[in-house]
């Protein structure tokens, strides 16, 4: 595999007067309590991970867990107190101001929870803003912005002011603005948290559609575990600045690493999250006639499988049988004891 797009090594962010000195003295063993007694607050505690090209990493955590702080370290809106961050192999913390601005103008886009649109500019001017900042000519930037308007489905409203739009529409503008410079890396900071549940679902689907088309490298922040499961390639669950577990959605649901993570997975409807592949057996004997793809979500094929008496064959994309699944397993997964692993 090629070099990861984002790479973090032991990143710390500690707020407070003499945070740096304290971090040095602690030798990498940061205890939030002792820091707090000395007037420092630990935002991010020893975060190490990689995000590869085209991957979507969702960082999930409750408020105050440090997820937004982590994102701001990686976009360098705040400077990390310790550790190393590499963007496509470039050491982010060593960049000077000019290079940092260059990086943001060409490689990064960011969407914000409260939309953060400029109230004095119209939809199309807002979207063209990063281009104009970069120095693109006005007509070019506007025509490019119009493409973006169409991409997020706001045609006909390009000359509205943000205050004349609904929350969902405003966030579409935010998304379009962050994509205007065609960045490789896309940061989204709780982009749908301020929206109503129905609009939120609509926007999530829209977002998945966009990502399928654009294949960006994404860091997505959310406090909604269901949203994380729905969107993520991998999920990082944070608590008190520490990444508790970083894994695929299925693995997190099936094998929660800590008690904290397990609490989140308890209420999750597994049939909606897990794929056939996640629960299939490797045995290939005693198969019936029915075949299901390994990439199906359980919910979609459960009814078919439950009507069978024999085990059902699981096939991969090339139609090879790679395992089997029996109806009992489905019942066990959906209704079975949640506390024990299946």
């Amino acid at each position: 595999m090629s070099e990861p797009v984002i790479k973090c090594e032991n990143v710390y962010k500690i707020f407070g007067a003499n945070a740096e000195k304290m971090l040095k003295d602690s030798n990498g063993n940061v205890d939030a309590k002792t820091f707090q007694e000395n007037g420092c607050i630990v935002g991010v505690n020893n975060a190490s991970f990689e995000v590869s090209k085209g991957e979507m990493l969702v960082v999930m955590g409750l408020s105050g867990s440090g997820k937004s702080t982590l994102l701001r370290c990686i976009s360098r809106l705040t400077d990390a107190t310790g550790g190393k961050i590499f963007i496509e192999g470039q050491d982010l913390l060593q960049l000077n101001n000019k290079d940092l601005i260059d990086l943001r103008r060409n490689k990064m886009g960011m969407v914000f929870q409260s939309f953060a649109l400029l109230p004095h500019k119209t939809v199309v001017e807002n979207i063209a803003f990063p281009l104009q900042i970069k120095g693109v000519k006005t007509e070019d930037s506007i025509s490019k912005a119009m493409d973006m308007v169409k991409l997020v489905g706001l045609d006909g409203r390009e000359n509205y002011f943000p205050r004349e739009l609904s929350g969902g529409q405003q966030q579409r503008v935010g998304i379009a603005r962050s994509l205007a410079v065609e960045p490789d890396i896309w940061f989204l900071d709780e982009p749908f948290s301020a929206l109503d549940p129905l609009i939120r679902k609509e926007m999530q689907d829209e977002f998945l559609r966009l990502q399928e088309k654009l294949q960006k490298t994404i860091m997505f922040i959310t406090h909604d575990f269901d949203e994380a499961l729905k969107l993520a390639d991998r999920i990082a669950i944070m608590k008190d600045g520490i990444i508790e577990q970083l894994d695929t959605p299925a693995n997190i649901v099936l094998n929660p690493a800590t008690e904290y993570v397990r609490k989140f997975t308890e209420e999750v409807p597994r049939e909606k999250v897990l794929l056939i592949e996640d629960i299939m057996d490797k045995t290939k004997d005693n198969l019936g006639d029915l075949k299901v793809s390994k990439d199906e979500i359980i919910e979609n094929v459960a009814e078919k499988i439950l009507t069978q008496e024999k085990s059902v064959a699981v096939i991969d994309n090339d139609n090879n049988i790679i395992g089997s699944i029996n109806p009992a397993k489905i019942i066990n997964t959906v209704f079975g004891g949640r506390k024990n692993n299946i």
Binding site: I101, M110, F112, L117, L118, P119, F161, E164
Partner: protein, 717 residues
């Protein structure tokens, strides 16, 4: 004992009061003490004591230290004066080329700088004045008098009043709508018909120079303070003092530095108008949501782009509210600057008041008030205006207002031309109505005033006498009876109980400054007048505010009235009271009360309004009646905000008391007025101004500390 444990604060306050009164009774009034008029005038008198500090001799009447502190700061005004004199006349002479005599001349640096600034300001004011009224001097500035003599046609003609009136109406229409346009048009027509055109335009030109300059400086300093904590920390105390310093007092040093006239007035207006602009700029920039700033950064803005393309446009409204403030301060300064010779409406008003021609004063005052309301409404409309999108407009629709204006210019010019035939022998009334050649209602008002005096003189006089003899004199005597040490103990103790040791120290410093200045007695008189005004104002304000709050429409109406009254320059309030009560302390106090009631009323209504609707509903569901709701829910919650209203009331009252010196009071204000006509008055005027500002700041500090604590306690912010 139980009681004390339960209410420790009450006990502490009681203890403080006991100590205060004990001190008051323990310290006798010295036999030689009487409220001596000439106390701070450094007359040689064998009975006086004296000391020498920094080479300055200070003479004063010595009393027991507990009774009155010696004026250890007495050298300060003299020293300021001498330093200013030294700066202006001796420090760093430089060689300057003199055009007229064709030779180099030696001149001190500061004097030269002030001359250059003065010349620049004079040029700007002249330019705008001549655009509005016509004249020669701008063209002369670029050429010479000789050239003008040879080319008699070269003269700025000035705009006919019809064009200015139509322009004002069109601008109002664009900013707000028909209502304001109508008001603007009528105001301009009124001004013109009643012969106040020339002074009005003079005042306007003054504002057109002072306001933009103040805006630029204020914005710049505001940005600097926003970006650097250090700059903010350095600016903050200056801003505080400037906001509470009577505008009067600032005039005095300006006299010394820049002389008499419009230019000095513009410069000093900027000194007064810049602080609110700075504060509102900082406030506006702070209020920009952090995510918007981050969005700007992530769009790749550098610092400059972030400031001018993201922060300032987002903070547009707050910054434009700052512009509104700047314009209003400029306007009120334009009136007061008449004292240092600025031309315009203020000058006419001052003249009329000096001649006791109430009718003329009333006319000028009405003009001032109308223009103030107009400027206020226009700048507010600008701040609140939001751009709308109207699809693809045609050329005509997009430039509608410009085209209309061009049309009015043409029509105005034609009218003015026709006027030259119509009014061949008199003035061209369609071009410009000269000062005092319009319709005048002065006689009518003068007769009215005479009638009021003849009819009600007995009652007014009786009221006057009663108020002065039964209320004011005893109160004043009580204030003067306080030994200095007792006052300091009371104020510092209150500071400690309300805001802790920090507050106590700040308050102690401020009080000591006044106590050690030569004007402690005068400051007491000022405080007594302000106290009387504040008590009456707050009583009226709270009552009216509470009553009006009961009904939504009356509350809105009252806020509107407050808005309008607040736009009037404070000086205007003196006209009607002089009309009714003549030249007495009562007049001043009534002006103080009227002026200071505005914030008391406004903050009461606003405070009551800020009580959350949910609480309102919860109280109603608990079955309270209207009165219970008011006393148990609304008052306690609105109280912190109402306290801020008292704070404003105090500042307003102090301003008015000082300006009241014009009518003749015996307090600090009178000395400031005196300093205005004194060559060596700069130091005295400045120190006096600082004294007044410090009185306001003592109360400000106490009230703010209390409000902060209370708000924290109630969990509202």
């Amino acid at each position: 004992m139980e009681f004390f444990k339960k209410y420790p604060k009450t006990f502490q306050w009681l203890f403080l009061l006991v100590v205060f009164f004990a001190l008051c009774f323990a310290i006798e009034v010295p036999e030689t003490y009487k409220f001596i008029r000439g106390q701070a005038e450094f007359v040689k008198d064998p009975n006086q004591s004296s000391y020498v500090f920094l080479g300055k001799e200070v003479r004063y009447y010595a009393f027991d230290v507990f009774w009155r502190l010696p004026p250890l700061l007495g050298w300060l005004p003299i020293w300021i004066n001498d330093s200013l004199f030294f700066l202006m006349n001796e420090w760093m002479p430089i060689e300057v080329w003199n055009e007229d005599t064709q030779e180099y001349k030696s001149r001190p640096l500061v004097l030269q700088i002030s001359r250059n600034i003065t010349a620049f300001m004079t040029f700007l004011i002249q330019l705008i004045r001549e655009v509005l009224l016509g004249g020669l001097e701008t063209i002369v500035a670029f050429t010479s008098w000789d050239w003008i003599d040879k080319n008699p046609w070269a003269e700025l003609p000035g705009l006919p009043w019809t064009i200015v009136a139509a322009g004002a109406a069109l601008l109002s229409y664009k900013l707000s709508g028909k209502g304001l346009a109508l008001f603007a048009g009528l105001t301009m027509v009124y001004i013109s018909i009643f012969g106040q055109w020339k002074p009005s335009m003079q005042t306007l030109s003054f504002i057109l120079v002072a306001a933009p300059l103040s805006f630029i400086f204020g914005l710049g300093l505001g940005i600097a303070a926003f970006k650097s904590k250090r700059v903010e920390k350095a600016l903050y105390p200056i801003l505080l003092v400037m906001q509470t310093m009577p505008q009067y007092a600032v005039l005095v040093p300006a006299l010394v530095l820049f002389g008499v006239g419009d230019h000095a007035a513009v410069i000093i207006t900027m000194v007064v108008a810049v602080p609110p602009m700075i504060l509102l700029t900082i406030l506006g920039l702070r209020a920009v949501p952090p995510e918007v700033i981050e969005a700007g950064r992530m769009s790749g803005c550098n610092n400059f782009q972030l400031m001018f393309k993201v922060l300032i446009p987002t903070a547009r409204r707050d910054i434009l509210i700052g512009v509104n403030q700047v314009i209003m301060v400029c306007f009120s300064m334009a009136v007061i600057s008449a004292f240092i010779g600025a031309k315009g409406l203020g000058f006419n008003l001052l003249l009329a008041l000096n001649q006791l021609n109430i009718g003329l004063a009333l006319e000028a005052g009405l003009c001032i008030s109308l223009i103030a309301i107009l400027l206020d409404k226009m700048s507010l409309a600008w701040a609140n205006k939001q751009e709308d999108y109207f699809g693809n407009l045609t050329f005509f629709e997009r430039n509608k207002n410009l085209l209309f204006f061009a049309a009015t210019v043409v029509i105005g010019l034609i009218l003015a031309y026709i006027g030259t035939f119509l009014f061949k022998d008199t003035f061209n009334y369609l071009f410009e109505i000269p000062h005092n050649k319009g319709i005048s209602t002065a006689d009518f008002w003068n007769k009215g005033v005479d009638w009021i005096f003849e009819t009600f003189f007995v009652y007014i006089k009786a009221f006057n006498t009663w108020l002065i003899q039964e209320v004011l004199q005893p109160m004043r005597a009580l204030y003067l009876r306080m030994p200095a040490i007792a006052t300091i103990v009371l104020v510092v103790g209150a500071g400690y109980l309300i805001g802790g040791i920090r507050s106590a120290l700040v308050v102690c410093g401020l009080t000591l400054f006044i106590a050690l200045s030569p004007w402690w007695d005068r400051a007491l008189v000022t405080t007594y007048m302000a106290t009387f005004g504040v008590i009456v104002s707050c009583t009226i304000g709270f009552t009216v505010g509470t009553l009006c709050f009961q009904n939504k429409h009356s509350a809105n109406f009252m806020l509107g009235v407050c808005d309008i009254f607040q736009t009037f320059p404070s000086f205007v309030y003196l006209i009607p009271v002089m009309m009714l009560f003549g030249i007495t302390d009562t007049s001043v106090l009534i002006a103080v009360i009227v002026y200071a009631t505005i914030p008391a009323t406004r903050y009461t209504i606003e405070g009551l309004r800020s009580v959350p609707a949910g609480l309102h509903d919860a109280a109603t569901m608990s079955g309270v009646n209207k009165f219970q709701r008011l006393t148990k829910i609304e008052f306690p919650l609105a109280f912190p905000h109402m306290m801020l209203g008292i704070n404003q009331t105090i500042v307003f009252a102090l301003f008015m008391v000082i300006i009241g010196a014009f009518i003749g009071t015996e307090d600090l204000g009178q000395y400031i007025l005196k300093a205005l006509s004194d060559k060596k008055g700069a130091g005295i005027g400045l120190t006096l101004g600082i004294c007044v500002a410090f009185i306001a700041l003592i109360f400000d500090n106490l009230i703010r500390a209390y409000v902060q604590k209370r708000k924290k306690h109630l969990g509202i912010d």
